[in-house]
């Protein structure tokens, strides 16, 4: 789910910033397992021990924006059920899987 879905309110100085609010409503993903794992490792795998590999069809009802300089994308309009049921290719235990091997 996006951070906006939690119902938190942005600080006053960015509350009317369209680009900030746009990112606030996005769903964060990385374009490689390596980058997602690096972030999880920075948190010592405390909260993000598992990384889901997504395969998003070209005709999926999802808007993808990115990548930034660190391989991060924001997804918009992504229904959580659709993502889970149709796009999750596999889930990996990040602490024990350092490199992604091609799926068989």
């Amino acid at each position: 789910m996006s951070y906006a879905a939690l119902g938190k309110v942005p600080p006053e100085n960015v509350r009317n910033d369209p680009s900030f609010l746009h990112r606030w409503n996005g769903l964060s993903v990385y374009d490689t397992y390596r980058e997602a794992r690096r972030l999880a490792k920075a948190r010592r795998f405390k909260r993000w021990a598992y990384v889901a590999e997504l395969s998003i069809p070209d005709d999926a009802p999802i808007i993808c924006e990115g990548p930034d300089d660190f391989g991060h994308w924001n997804l918009y309009g992504a229904d959580p059920v659709y993502l889970k049921d149709a796009c999750v290719a596999r889930v990996l235990h990040a602490p024990s899987v350092e490199e992604l091997t091609p799926r068989g």
Binding site: M1, S2, Y3, A5, L6, K8, V9, P10, P11, E12, N13, V14, F20, R23, W24, G26, L27, S28, R38, L39, K41, A42, R43, R44, R47, W48, D68, D69, F70, H72
Partner: protein
């Protein structure tokens, strides 16, 4: 200068991203640690302790080396309580 910044190199450009532990989303990005901390303070002022307790500032060096978690919202809350 924070120790990790010295370790990264004086001339290293670092991007500070604000991540939410609960949802796994990045919600803001800044070019300085001070600006990132100011954002956390703004979240605290607007949402109370629950607005920062699950946030973390992650520093991304421009040379592609591993990111580092530099400040967790819980640490900020503790630091602010200590100075209250």
């Amino acid at each position: 200068m924070e120790p990790f910044e010295a370790a990264m190199g004086l001339m290293q450009t670092v991007t500070y991203q604000i991540w939410d532990d609960d949802t796994g989303n990045v919600i803001a990005s800044y070019g300085s640690r001070d600006a990132a901390v100011a954002f956390l303070r703004g979240m605290l002022a607007t949402n109370g302790p629950s607005g920062v307790s699950q946030l973390v500032i992650v520093a991304y060096p421009a040379d592609g080396s591993d990111p580092i978690a530099v400040l967790e919202g819980a640490e900020l809350l503790a630091a602010m309580s200590a100075h209250a």
